[in-house]
């Protein structure tokens, strides 16, 4: 195998590694987003109902609604670490 081919293959391997990193980052954010979306779906509907009944519930309702959204933040952090570390 000539030195040239080796160099090309190494470059290709590096490129595909970078590509896989990007795919992984995308999956991390995307899947985590779907997860927290599913989680917030039910809570959000119930929270709306509670606030409609009693406006004082707003603070507590907001709190419960945003609870699952930590998951997507973790996804985002993992993606950032993949891309920039």
């Amino acid at each position: 195998m000539s030195a040239e081919t080796v160099a090309v293959e190494v470059a290709a391997a590096a490129a595909s590694a970078a590509g896989l990193k990007a795919v992984g980052a995308g999956l991390a954010v995307g899947l985590a987003g779907i997860g927290s979306g599913l989680g917030e779906m039910g809570i959000g509907a119930a929270a709306m109902g509670a606030v409609a009944e009693n406006k004082d519930m707003f603070g507590l309702a907001l709190l419960f609604t945003v609870l699952p959204e930590t998951i997507v933040i973790f996804g985002l952090v993992v993606a950032l670490l993949l891309m920039f570390q």
Partner: protein
């Protein structure tokens, strides 16, 4: 600071002759929060009954209802009138007696006229609606009714109509199905109706009109126009009346509201046949003011004394006691829940930390400046609305912090400012290839560690305050259990952190991996961390074993603070991508070789640029506003905060339109 205003509990007792002067004086002072008297059969209050409203309360309230109904018909609210001159109370009272009935009558007449006209306009509209299917009909409407042996019927059908009996039919094809008008003999009617059911006949009423449909419709439309013109003149007349009496209406509304509140105050007092007593709260530094003023108006014939507070947890109303710059943050506290009287009030800390977190997320001079201009511009729109003003002020503080962090991060709408970032850089290599773009190496892992540090400190403080609250609010054995549990949580958290430090060197954090090794590859730090962890778990379990299930949340809560950087970076990325698409991909290539088409493309590029940054500003407000709020509500408050305090609501009002008597 970190404490609500100290309150004193006062008892006022006097004979019933002093009822009116006492109420008037308390109302004027506007500092006395009345504890409503409830008949519970307490021995202490044996023989006391809830008082009766003062004389004249019913006439005042009927005038007030009149004024409020007129005001709502005109759509005027208290914050719409500019204070020109404060009305004299005597004059106002006279004009309420003399002028109000005539104004009310006039307005009522106009209103009822307008309602009548509106109803008849509606009627004509309905008649037009009923006539519309017959617009193309080749027969006048009167031919459809008034027969003895023939019936007419109209309606929409779906599909082909086939009728076997003698009949006359007019079919007007529609998009789906058709509109038919049909005349048959009375004797055939039931059979025809049955057969029409197969094509889903939906009957329409035969209009009670005379003439061809288009002519009738035109006539009705003319009538509606005439009615609308009349309504216009009535509205104009009402506008004149509104203009003339607006100030009078609003000031008399204020006067009567204050009168009715005073007249009905005895409903909150405890009374006997000859005397009355009332318990309430006054800020500690104002007690002597109440003493002196009541003494003066009653010529000494009143007994005021300060009572001992038995239960601090469920007693004093809560009034915030914060420096001016922290007032806007009280909004966030009230949305969650007002603090209890005895607990730590975190408003001051929140007013400092919240804008810092906002700045960390949206640290950009450009966006900060946009938000600052927005908050200054919106100021006049929320005038008179307290919550709105607070929100705008929070936005202003946050935008200032955003500008400061923008200078530190060297960011302006995603572009780099002429200096390198003063602290860790958030610049991401997007659009680096673009000509003229400056790129600074990013330090994202470092920033993530900084955000984790913020989390560790914030949560530790929350737990320390938790212990403080327990020491203030709990009693006996439970008190020490709660305090130790809070210390336990701190120990567990720091134990885990120290153990991690002793195993893995992490940037910007102490490196404990080089500590002297003891046994089995464990160094001193690992063992110290493990001891702290176990001790902490024991403290937590002593209070409630089930709480041990919550231990993993320590890690998730601390890591949750990384959102400060993660959400911030997503907004940086959107800004960079917008710039790259608008300038790097659309505008720059055209500038090199200007053509007429190129100029159009440059305009498109500018539109993309504006759209992207508008979107990012909106997302920035949402992300930058909600995430720090969530960090406070979920990660911080759950460690110590209970809330549920009563709002301090003094008896009285701030007069805007009438003179103080």
């Amino acid at each position: 600071m970190f404490q609500p205003k100290p309150m004193s509990k006062l008892l006022i007792v006097a004979s019933k002759q002093q009822l009116e002067p006492v109420i008037t004086e308390l109302y004027r002072l506007n500092i006395f929060h009345i504890d409503d008297y409830v008949e519970k059969g307490d021995e202490q209050w044996d023989g006391f009954k809830i008082g009766m409203p003062m004389k004249g309360a019913d006439t005042i309230s009927s005038s007030l209802v009149k004024i409020r109904s007129i005001a709502s018909a005109f759509g005027i609210g208290s914050n719409q009138t500019d204070t020109v001159a404060k009305a004299r109370i005597q004059e106002l009272k006279r004009s309420i007696e003399q002028d109000l009935p005539t104004i009310a009558e006039e307005v009522e007449k106009l209103l009822s006229q307008r309602t009548k006209l509106e109803i008849s306009a509606k009627e004509y509209e309905q008649r037009i609606e009923a006539l519309k299917p017959f617009i193309d009909a080749p027969f006048p409407m009167e031919l459809l009714r008034g027969y003895d042996s023939v019936s007419c019927l109209a309606g929409t059908v779906k599909g082909q109509v086939t009728i076997t009996v003698p009949h006359e039919i007019w079919v007007n094809p529609l998009k789906t199905g058709a509109f038919i008008t049909l005349a048959v003999k009375n004797t055939d009617l039931p059979a025809v109706e049955r057969s029409l059911l197969d094509v889903q006949l939906q009957k329409a009423a035969i209009p009670e009109e005379t003439g061809y449909a288009p002519a009738v419709i035109a006539e009705h439309e003319k009538k509606i126009a005439a009615i609308n013109a009349e309504i216009e003149t009535l509205t104009a007349k009402m506008g004149v009346i509104k203009e003339k009496h607006q100030h009078f209406l609003m000031s008399s509304e204020e006067l009567l509201t204050s009168d009715i509140e005073q007249a009905e105050a005895p409903l909150r007092f405890a009374t006997t046949d000859l005397a009355f007593a009332v318990v309430g709260w006054v800020p500690g530094d104002q007690v002597t003011k109440v003493y002196e003023n009541l003494d003066r108006v009653c010529a000494g014939k009143v007994y005021v004394t300060e009572l001992e507070i038995e239960d601090y947890n469920d007693g004093p109303p809560v009034e915030y006691n914060n420096p001016d710059f922290a007032h806007p943050s009280e909004l966030f506290m009230d949305i969650y829940s007002r603090p209890k009287y005895t607990e730590v009030d975190p408003t001051l800390l929140m007013s400092i930390v919240y804008p810092i977190m906002f700045g960390l997320i949206l640290g950009d001079v450009g966006y900060g400046a946009i938000l600052l201009i927005m908050s200054l511009g919106l100021r006049s729109m929320v005038k008179g609305n307290e919550a709105g003003t607070q929100l705008i002020n929070v936005l202003r503080n946050c935008s200032v912090s955003s500008i400061i962090f923008g200078v530190i991060f060297s960011e302006f709408l995603g572009f780099s400012l002429p200096w390198a970032p003063l602290w860790f850089s958030r610049h991401i290599p997007i659009g680096v290839a673009t000509e003229g773009a400056v790129h600074h190496a990013s330090a994202i892992p470092q920033l993530l560690v900084v955000s984790i540090w913020i989390g560790i400190l914030h949560i530790s403080l929350g737990r320390i305050w938790g212990a403080l609250n327990a020491s203030r609010m709990e009693h006996g054995h439970h008190k020490s259990l709660k305090m130790y549990a809070n210390i336990g949580w701190i120990l567990v958290m720091w134990g885990i952190i120290i153990m991690i430090w002793s195993k893995f060197p992490i940037m910007l954090m102490p490196d404990l991996t080089t500590m002297p090794e003891l046994a089995g590859g464990l160094n001193i730090a690992t063992i110290a961390g493990a001891i702290m962890l176990i001790l902490g778990l024991a403290f937590i379990a002593r209070e409630n074993v089930l709480d041990l299930m919550e231990v993993p949340t320590i890690i998730s809560h601390v890591l949750s603070y990384t959102r400060l950087i993660a959400v911030g970076l997503s907004s940086v990325a959107i800004a960079l991508v917008t710039n790259f698409i608008a300038i790097g991909l659309i505008i720059n290539p055209q500038l090199e070789n200007l053509t007429p088409l190129g100029i159009v493309l440059i305009i498109v590029g500018v539109v993309v640029f504006l759209f992207g940054h508008t979107l990012n500003t909106a997302l920035g407000i949402l992300g930058g506003g909600l995430h720090p709020l969530r960090l406070h509500y979920v990660e911080f408050f759950t460690k110590f905060y209970r809330g549920g305090g009563k709002k301090y609501n003094p008896f009285g009002m701030i007069r805007k339109l009438t003179e103080q008597n």
